[in-house]
Every structure is written in structure tokens, then in C-alpha cells.
């Protein structure tokens, strides 16, 4: 290569880099202007930091590795790390049914609903008028035929007022809805612009308390995120409130949870480990078997083996459930000629069935991974080992498998973690069942930690998101600890290799 060509190349790549980074900066400026326009400082700051990072990384001389990491990292931080942090944070709140709003909004809603039609009061026919100053007025005709304008007797539409057509009401509906005409038992208001009712607030707000205007009951804002009366009656909706460690404390102190969740933990661990083992074993077996040049129909085999992965997993999970039905399923009645095996009705067999279905769902993934990874096993290594007199099994055990595990090891750890929380397959195949009637909480024999927790958090009267988030965080810490230990082993592998 000549020096000229070389410097030409450099120039070309520099131009390309400038163009790309320039484009990123241009988009960022647009984003900054747009977010500034709506005063969204959170997103504004994220764009600013991300762009600064891009500019620094691509123009500094000491950031080679970061240049390759940054693009993926930005997406990872925004869409995954943020989500994790958000969920962990929600674990410290009481967010859930009854506590989905913030406090001002909850209060506003309670007050709005508390303005009730005076019982037995008649409907009024109303028209919304605009006065000469364009202010709105309510012309109402009562059941007795008397017409009033803003509560004062009137004979009709005054000359300098005009009746607003519906189209105009639409544009000013907040004003219309806010109109109140004080009458003796309450205020006349309209919610549709054509009918009015006399309504009266039944709650009064002052000093962070609400007072019932009829009974005199006082509701105070409490730390539970409710307006609560002295005898424990609450007004709904409540609001989101930070409750500190409450959710975590409950997770560890609730007697009814502890024993069942410990026994579920053992099964969850077994499920995850066996799922990885079986799918990897079958996937690897098939990858090795079909990784032979000259095997006819190799392409067909491979394509069809991918099918279980290409069909929506919940559809196939439901098909499996149907096939494993004890009295009517295809496995008992088609394959086994009228057997009566309780595949999903027996506690132990259901565990086997779930593993079987998960094997079916998961082996194509492992098959693809292994097929890809196998291509990196250099032929010479195999050659050399064969010359040394190693048999096929020894070859596999000593050479191929260790080499494969270098790149697939972390994936197996990830797969373990995935299956540890594999809500989907349990949910669709058994729903956690068969049910254990004697358990103190709703629990089935195939429930994993995550599905058991969700039954607790969402199965009662109302969903407790905050509690579910806290439990998720605890489960995460458990899986992370196990996985980090597993990951250390892959480090050893990596060093052996290099």
C-alpha cells in the first residue's frame, strides 16, 4: 500500500466520523430545542450528557474501547438500567391499587366526586350564554317553568347575550364545567351544556383534612397514603407515598410467606438448573450431530428444528397443555393409546411436564447458539487431538466442550437466571398448579419464586405493585449472587483459553 493511498484512507475515515458525529450533534440540538420548548428538563439533561459523552469519546485519543461500547451503552442505560432502578425504587413505595395517583390529584378527584346532586332535586333545562364581555352565563328553566339567568329571574336570552352553539362549548368546556350558580340548597351546574342539576359538596378541605359536611366525620391525611377517619374509614383514591422499608420488612416477617417461599426456592433452583442442562444438552447434541459436512438434508433438519422457536411461545405452551390433558389429551389418547397418566394433575408429574415443555421451547435457542459457537472451534485442534489418539468422546470432553463453554458459559449463566424467573412458561402450562390446598397462601406445585410472589402481591383484594417490586428486587439479589458465582467460573475458562 502506498503512503498516498494510506493517507487517503485516513482522510476518508475521518470524514466519515465527522459526518456521523455531526449528525448525532445535529439531532441532539433538535432534541434539546424540542425538550426545552416543553420544559422537560429530565430528557434535556439526558440528551445533553449523552451528546457530550459522544463528542468526548470520539474526539479524545484515549478512549478507544469506549468508542465501541458507547452506542450500545446509551441504549442499555436508558431502556434497561433505568427500568431496573425505577422498579427497585417502586419497592419503597405503596404504589398499587388505590395508590396510583399523586396526592394533589387524589384530593382533586375526591373533592370532585364529593359534589353530589342534592337528592330529589329536579333537573333544569339550561343554555350557556356569552355576555357582551364574552363571560359565560347560565340560563336555566326549572321544572316549574320559571327561567333564571345566573339565578336572577329572566324572561329569555337578553339582547346583548348570545346562546353558544355546541361547537363553541367544546372549545370552552373547562369554563362551562366550572360554572356554578348558587341557589338556596346548593349550586346549579351543568355537565353536558343542556341539563343542569343542583349539587352540593359533601366534603370540605382544610389543613390537610377533609370534613364530611353532613356527618361531621373528619378524615386526616395519613402516612398510609389515605384520608382516614379516626375509626379507620378511608376515602378513595389514596395516593402514592414512600413507605421506606415496609415492603421489605413484610417480605421477611410474614409467617405465612416464609415457609412456602423457602420450599418454592428449592424447586425454582432445580427448575432453572435442569432447564439449562436439558436444553443445552439437547441443543448441543443436535448441533454436533448435524454439523457434519456431506450430511444430506442438513439444511432441512436445521430449518425445521428452529420452528418451535419461531412460533409464539404461549401458543405452543397452550397446545402442550391441551396435549397433556389427562382425559382428553393427545399424548394419553393418541400416542399412548388410552393411558390415564395425570401429566398436569399430579404434583410430581406436573414438574416433569413443565420441564419437558420448557425443553421443547428452549432447545432451538441452544441449538442455534451451539451451531454458531462450533464454527469457532478450529479444525486443527480436533486434528491434533485425533492424531494423539483421542476417541470421539474424549475429543468432545477434552477439546470441543471446553472451547464451546468459553463463549457459551456466560449464556448458560444468563439462561439460568432467565429460567429462574421464567414466569411465562409456568403461567401458560400449569398456572403454577396443581394447587396445594394445605398451603397457607395460594400456591401450586410448579410455582416458581416469581410466580408465587405475584400470586401474593396481585391475588388479594387489589394489586400491590410496591410489594411486588420489593420482592422482585429481593429475588434479583438472590439470582445475582448465584450467577456472579457461576460467572467467576467462566473467568477461569477464559484465562485457560487465552
Amino acid at each position: 500500500m502506498t503512503d498516498l493511498a494510506r493517507s487517503g484512507q485516513r482522510l476518508g475515515s475521518l470524514a466519515g466520523k465527522l459526518l456521523l458525529v455531526g449528525l448525532v450533534n445535529a439531532l441532539a440540538v433538535y432534541g434539546l430545542v424540542a425538550t426545552y420548548a416543553v420544559r422537560d428538563w429530565g430528557i434535556f439533561a439526558v440528551i445533553l450528557v449523552a451528546t457530550a459523552a459522544v463528542d468526548y469519546v470520539y474526539f479524545s485519543r484515549r478512549t478507544l474501547a469506549s468508542r465501541y461500547l458507547l452506542p450500545g451503552l446509551i441504549f442499555l442505560l436508558i431502556f434497561q438500567v433505568y427500568v431496573v432502578i425505577y422498579t427497585a425504587y417502586a419497592g419503597f413505595t405503596n404504589v398499587g391499587d388505590g395508590h396510583n395517583l399523586d396526592k394533589p390529584r387524589a384530593l382533586q378527584h375526591i373533592l370532585a366526586v364529593s359534589e353530589k346532586r342534592v337528592p330529589g332535586s329536579p333537573p333544569y333545562k339550561v343554555q350557556v350564554l356569552a355576555g357582551p364581555d364574552d363571560r359565560l352565563h347560565l340560563l336555566a328553566t326549572g321544572p316549574d317553568g320559571r327561567t333564571t339567568l345566573d339565578g336572577r329571574p329572566a324572561t329569555g336570552v337578553p339582547a346583548d347575550h348570545r346562546v353558544l352553539p355546541f361547537r363553541d362549548l367544546v372549545g370552552r368546556q373547562q369554563e362551562v364545567l366550572a360554572l356554578r350558580v348558587p341557589l338556596q340548597d346548593g349550586s346549579l351546574r351543568t355537565e353536558d351544556g343542556s341539563t343542569g342539576y343542583i349539587a352540593k359538596p359533601t366534603l370540605r378541605y382544610a389543613d390537610d383534612t377533609l370534613t364530611d359536611t353532613v356527618t361531621g366525620t373528619v378524615y386526616r391525611a395519613t402516612e398510609r397514603g389515605y384520608f382516614e377517619s379516626a375509626d379507620g374509614k378511608v376515602l378513595t383514591p389514596g395516593w402514592k407515598e414512600v413507605v421506606g422499608l415496609d415492603n421489605y420488612v413484610r417480605a421477611f416477617t410474614d409467617e405465612r410467606l416464609r415457609a412456602p417461599l423457602l420450599s418454592v426456592f428449592a424447586w425454582t433452583f432445580a427448575f432453572a438448573a435442569l432447564s439449562v442442562l436439558t436444553t443445552f444438552a439437547l441443543g448441543l447434541l443436535l448441533a454436533l450431530t448435524l454439523n457434519r459436512e456431506g450430511l444430506r438434508g442438513r439444511g432441512i433438519y436445521r430449518s425445521l428444528l428452529v420452528l418451535p422457536y419461531a412460533v409464539p411461545s404461549f401458543l405452543s405452551a397452550l397446545v402442550w397443555t391441551g396435549m397433556l390433558n389427562q382425559s382428553f389429551g393427545f399424548v394419553n389418547h393418541g400416542l399412548l393409546g388410552g393411558a390415564d397418566i395425570p401429566w398436569l394433575n399430579d404434583a410430581t408429574l406436573a414438574k416433569v411436564s413443565v420441564l419437558l415443555v420448557n425443553l421443547w421451547l428452549g432447545f432451538p435457542y441452544m441449538f442455534l447458539i451451539c451451531t454458531g459457537a462450533l464454527q469457532a472451534v478450529p479444525a486443527e485442534v480436533n486434528e491434533a487431538a485425533r492424531i494423539d489418539g483421542a476417541g470421539p468422546w474424549q475429543l468432545f470432553r477434552r477439546v470441543t466442550l471446553p472451547l464451546l463453554l468459553v463463549s457459551t458459559g456466560p449464556l448458560l449463566v444468563a439462561s439460568f437466571a432467565f429460567n429462574f424467573n421464567n414466569f411465562t412458561v409456568i403461567y401458560f402450562v400449569t398456572g403454577g398448579g396443581p394447587n396445594i390446598p394445605d398451603a397457607p397462601i395460594t400456591l401450586g406445585s410448579t410455582d416458581l419464586l416469581i410466580s408465587a410472589v405475584y400470586k401474593v402481591a396481585f391475588g388479594g383484594a387489589g394489586r400491590e405493585w410496591g410489594f411486588a417490586c420489593a420482592m422482585s428486587t429481593i429475588i434479583f439479589l438472590v439470582v445475582a449472587a448465584i450467577s456472579a458465582a457461576g460467572f467467576r467460573r467462566t473467568r477461569a475458562l477464559e484465562e485457560t483459553y487465552s
Binding site: 355546541f166 355537565e191 432467565f418 391475588g459 383484594a461
Partner: protein, 434 residues
């Protein structure tokens, strides 16, 4: 609905070994699905959006959420309303169960609608979360069937304009079973005889499914004098008084055990199996609702729809579900929403139009009078007349799962039926007490 478990969970399909986004799922919500699946077939028409969703929702004067079977109907009516009033209306289509959940989560975020179509048993959740606004029906109250208004009332206020009433009834294949059975025992006898003669595979198509099916089993339980919750003085359900293990409830549990022994009922029957058996003429009876009428008729079944015969001596009361229109508490166009719901949908003409395009038993009395000559509509109404509104209080969420498990476990022969029912009741009380 009433497959609480499955309906809720279908939401979660995630690729099993996703390299992409790791397992994603939604939390279960024990009554996510609602009272009423629509007649199928209508799903083939789809609302034509006139513009992208963002601009559309922002620029529209009225945003309506409807499920796939109803959005074409609503779209047509909404277009007429829009033309009459000179406003822009947008109909957005969501899965039925999502309407409820998204109203709670998306409404406060400013992404919600003005009007939704929904089921009355969502009210507990919607009111608790401040997601719906009360509706002042005024003089219109009297135009609807009492049960419909009762269903849409919560804490003394009405929250929706009812339009259809749905309940299950007895479907009878008149070729297999020419006579109306006088009692549940007679029904089972006819069915079991047909099975013996190999003319049927199921004596009664009644699904249990993986989680049990308290909704479809309820008429049987209620005929023993059982129930879910006792009624308070103001007509609402009292979550502190669970009835599933009262005297009648335990008699019901024993009866289930008897039907297991006589092979009249099987825990392995799923909705798919029940539906296939009845619609292919392999079952003389089915307990099901209006959602299955079209399919049964299309399959050529000679169909009679009748009240469910009593098994325990008292009337077999099904749960009644009411569909209606509700206004979001976070509606940006509340005035237009009120005008649309009260003064447009709430007229007999539009109510009739809704009936004509969906064939759901109407909630407006005058419309019902017009259509009651249809024997199927009349059959459902007769079965539902003794029914009780499906409880809408949040505590109901705690009931479905355990009640269903108890029924299923009894039908699987997992132990003493009385003990199983009592264990379930204990767990439910425990959850509600929390």
C-alpha cells in the same frame, strides 16, 4: 371472563429464551377479563384511522376506547355524532381487559380516553383508583332494567350508562335432548344416558379448566343456597361476609364430589373441549353465554336457550354482567363525553342500533320489549331474571382463584370436599383481611 387465570395471563407471551428482551410479562390480575366476550365474526371489520394515533388523540374532541368487537359499531355511531355536532371523534381499539388496566395507568399520565366501553365489575378497581367519574343519569334512570342500574352503582353513585346485560343460561341441543329438563338431576340423567348410548361424549359441557371456573359453576352453587358475599343494607356486597362455605356451599361441595364419582363432571374439561363437544353435537347441554350463540348456530346445532335447572332446590341464579359506557375521571373533554353518553347513546334509537349490530341482550327496557320475540334473547333474559349482579367490589379479586381451586380440587378427588371448600374460604378471608 371467568377464566381469570388464563385471560389475565395471555398478556404475557414472551419469547422463551429471548436474547432480545428478557422475559417480559404482565402481572396477573385475577379478574382482568370482563363479563363479556363478544360474538365473534365482527372482529373482521376494523376501524379505519384517519390519522396517526398521536395527532388523532390530541386533535380529537372526543376519544373513545373500545374493544375489537365493538369498536366498528362505536365508530359508526360516533361518526354520526361527530357529523351532527360538528366535532372530531377518535375511536381507539384495545383488548377488553386492557381497557380497564390502561384506564388506571394511562389516564393519569394524560394518555387516557374520555369515554370507555367496559363491564360493571371493573368498578371496584376503577373507583378505588379514581379512574372514572360519576354520571348523572337524571330522568333516564327509569329507562333501564333495575339490575343494570344496580350493577353500575358504587357507593351510592352511578358510574356508567348500561347498554347490554349478559348472563349464562342452559344451552340445549333439541335433537339430542328434546325435553326441557325439570331438574339438574334429570339433566344429568339424560346426559349420562346419551353418553352410555355413545350418542354423546359429555353429559353436560361445563368447563373446569386449569384454575376452576367459579363463574360458570355459580348458578349450581347458588341453587344450594350458597353465594359469594352477603348483601349489605344499602344493596352492596359485604366483603366481610363470605358465603362460599355456608351450609349451602358445603352441600354444593358434596354434590360436586358426587358428580365426580358418577363421572358427570370432569376437572379435565376445558372451555375449548366443552365448546367443541356442544357445537359438534357431542353434548346435549352446555352452560354458556351469548358469546357462544353465533358459533353454535353456525355449526348447525338446533338450539334452545333456557333457565338453568336447580340442583339444590333453590333457584339457580347466574351472575349478571352489565356492559356500559363510562367517563374517565381524567377526561380532557368531559362536556363532550357527557353529551355523547347521556344525550346520544342514552336514546332508544341508538340503543336499538347498538343491539342490532351486536345482538347483546339490551339493558334499556323499551329496546328489550322490541326484541324479546327472539327466543334466544328471551331465554337469556329468563335465565338472568333471577340472577344477581357480579360483585364489583375489589375483594372479588381474592375470591376467583381460591374458589376455582376448591371446585377443581374436589372434582379431581383430592380430598374431603367439605375440608377443601373450607380451606379455600379461609385463604380468601385471609387475603381480604390484609
Amino acid at each position: 371472563m371467568r377464566r381469570p387465570a388464563l385471560a389475565l395471563g395471555l398478556v404475557l407471551l414472551a419469547a422463551a429464551c429471548g436474547s432480545q428482551a428478557p422475559e417480559q410479562a404482565q402481572p396477573p390480575s385475577p379478574s382482568a377479563s370482563a363479563t363479556s366476550p363478544a360474538a365473534k365474526g365482527e372482529a373482521t371489520t376494523i376501524v379505519e384511522p384517519t390519522d396517526g394515533p398521536i395527532k388523532r388523540a390530541a386533535a380529537a374532541d372526543l376519544v373513545i376506547w373500545a374493544d375489537d368487537t365493538r369498536s366498528p359499531i362505536i365508530q359508526k355511531i360516533a361518526e354520526k355524532f361527530a357529523a351532527d355536532k360538528g366535532v372530531k371523534v377518535a375511536v381507539q381499539q384495545l383488548e377488553f381487559g386492557d381497557i380497564r388496566d390502561n384506564l388506571v395507568t394511562q389516564g393519569p399520565a394524560g394518555e387516557g380516553p374520555d369515554v370507555v366501553i367496559g363491564a360493571h365489575d371493573w368498578l371496584g378497581k376503577l373507583v378505588t383508583n379514581g379512574a372514572v367519574a360519576p354520571l348523572e343519569l337524571g330522568d333516564k334512570l327509569g329507562q333501564f332494567k333495575e339490575v343494570a342500574i344496580k350493577a353500575f352503582s358504587y357507593d351510592g353513585q352511578v358510574y356508567g350508562l348500561p347498554y347490554a346485560i349478559e348472563n349464562i343460561a342452559l344451552f340445549r341441543n333439541t335433537e339430542l335432548a328434546p325435553e326441557t329438563p325439570k331438574s339438574f338431576d334429570e339433566l344429568m340423567k339424560v346426559g349420562l344416558d346419551l353418553v352410555k348410548q355413545k350418542k354423546a361424549t359429555l353429559p353436560l359441557a361445563l368447563q373446569v379448566g386449569p384454575e376452576g371456573d367459579p363463574y360458570h359453576f355459580f348458578p349450581i352453587a347458588s341453587s344450594f343456597g350458597s353465594g359469594v358475599f352477603d348483601v349489605k343494607a344499602d344493596g352492596g356486597y359485604d366483603p366481610a361476609k363470605l358465603l362460599i362455605d355456608n351450609e349451602g356451599g358445603l352441600a354444593f361441595a358434596k354434590a360436586l364430589d358426587g358428580w365426580r364419582k358418577s363421572k358427570a363432571l370432569s376437572a379435565d374439561v376445558t372451555y375449548d373441549i366443552a365448546k367443541e363437544a356442544f357445537n359438534s353435537g357431542k353434548a346435549p347441554f352446555q352452560l354458556t353465554g351469548p358469546w357462544n350463540t353465533d358459533d353454535a348456530v353456525k355449526a348447525g346445532i338446533k338450539l334452545a336457550v333456557e333457565p338453568i335447572p336447580s340442583a339444590g332446590g333453590k333457584p339457580a341464579a347466574p351472575f349478571v354482567g352489565v356492559q356500559g359506557f363510562m367517563i374517565s375521571a381524567n377526561a380532557k373533554n368531559k362536556l363532550v363525553a357527557n353529551e355523547f353518553v347521556l344525550n346520544y347513546l342514552g336514546t332508544p334509537e341508538v340503543s336499538k342500533e347498538l343491539y342490532d349490530s351486536g345482538k347483546r341482550p339490551p339493558a334499556m327496557t323499551s329496546v328489550y320489549e322490541q326484541v324479546k320475540s327472539d327466543p334466544i334473547i328471551a331465554g337469556f333474559a329468563a335465565a338472568g331474571d333471577i340472577g344477581q349482579p357480579l360483585p364489583s367490589i375489589p375483594a372479588m379479586d381474592a375470591v376467583w382463584t381460591e374458589y376455582g381451586h376448591a371446585e377443581r380440587d374436589i372434582l379431581l378427588g383430592k380430598g374431603d370436599p367439605v375440608k377443601l371448600m373450607k380451606q379455600a374460604a379461609t385463604k380468601i378471608r385471609d387475603k381480604i383481611g390484609d
